[in-house]
Amino acid sequence: MAIYKLVKNDMSGEVESVTLTIDSGHKQSIPFVADNTEYQKYLAWVDAGNTPDPAD
């Protein structure tokens, strides 16, 4: 299981955010926005060869 998991919006059916599990009691939901710092870290994680878990 990856630390990131893609999430679909139930209205649009599109993947619009990614959830980061920091630990068992702490998560972040990160929007796909270029100047969001957590999104930049996610992109760097993907660029490093990692793959997020797919959306349900």
């Binding site: 919006n9 139930d10 619009e16 702490h26 998560k27 990160i30 929007p31 100047d35």
Partner: protein
Amino acid sequence: MSTLKVDAIRHNSATSDAITTAADGTCTANITSNYSNRSVVYNGAMKIAQRGTNFTGVTATGTFPVDRFKFHVGSLGTWTLSQSTDVPTGQGLSHSIKCDVTTANASPSGTAYARIDQRFEGQDLQRFCKGTANAKNFAVSFWVKSPKTGTHIVQLQDQDNSRNVSKAYTVSSANTWEKKELILPADTTGAFGNDNGGSLFLCFYLAVGTGYQGGTLQTTWGTPVNNTRATGQVNVADSTSNDFYLTGVQMEASSYCSEFEHRSYGDELQRCRRYYQVLVDQAGGTSQKSFAIACAYSSSSMHSTHLLSPMMRTVPTLDYTTGTDYYRAFSNNAQDSFNDFTLVGNSHAHAVDLAVFSNLSVTSGSAVLIRTYNAASKIAFTAEL
């Protein structure tokens, strides 16, 4: 009692008056640096700590012991970071950052480092006129209480143009509050972007490995060279007896440091909320806290919108605690617990769409009241640099 009767006061070498007096008993003074909002630093008095006030076992970068001040550490000990009430006397300051070494590293190597920094948007730095012929000095002042005497380093890191400059200061007495005033030079090269991006880091070093010193300290602006960033920095992390404190941080576009500009709690909180704001926090208490009215889009999902006040720097990240039944939905004379939220893509810097997609059973189309349901329940939004 005597009266000085003059029409003006002017420095010997000046070409204009510093103070002119008028026949009606008033005067006009050319005061250059005591205007309000002269410091670009957020939360310089360390009053605001929305994320918490005590963080133990810190070994990696990312902790904010108070709002806007981020602790960075890599391969350099273990720390407890906190908002402290240990402050210099007589300054009107009530809080400081405390960095307590709990696992020491007496011989940091390579690129090990520990520092506190604050990051600034370029649009808030235009007053420095960086990259122009009119560039202004960076006047940095602060109170520090270090366990080590000797050289400590402050660094400015220009992220837009990959340039930096450092300045050494000396702590004279260990474990004693001292005020430091540093003038870092203006830079006529490399303008800051006039936007919401992170343009400048103001860094206070606590310790560095061999990779960040050895060269001559870079005291003029130039391309970053690792071994010139913090040459001479003492090692604050060399003993578990060590506690490092910082408060009263100010940075002005000026050639001298003015007195610390105090702000009200409310003003400072509102400023910090551009980067981090709490929606709800049960804060260890037993009382559930209501925080949203949602619309059930289906029998297993619901959406609620929340205005962000003020508008955040960018579309924020949703930051929340989770666990079994951490949150509870009330609707149609029934209730159901759930664990997770999602920030939906239609969110923006003014308002967010907070959705629940899992572990939820509600009546489609109904209104739903949402409350916290665990002492540790907390939801916040972050748009930090």
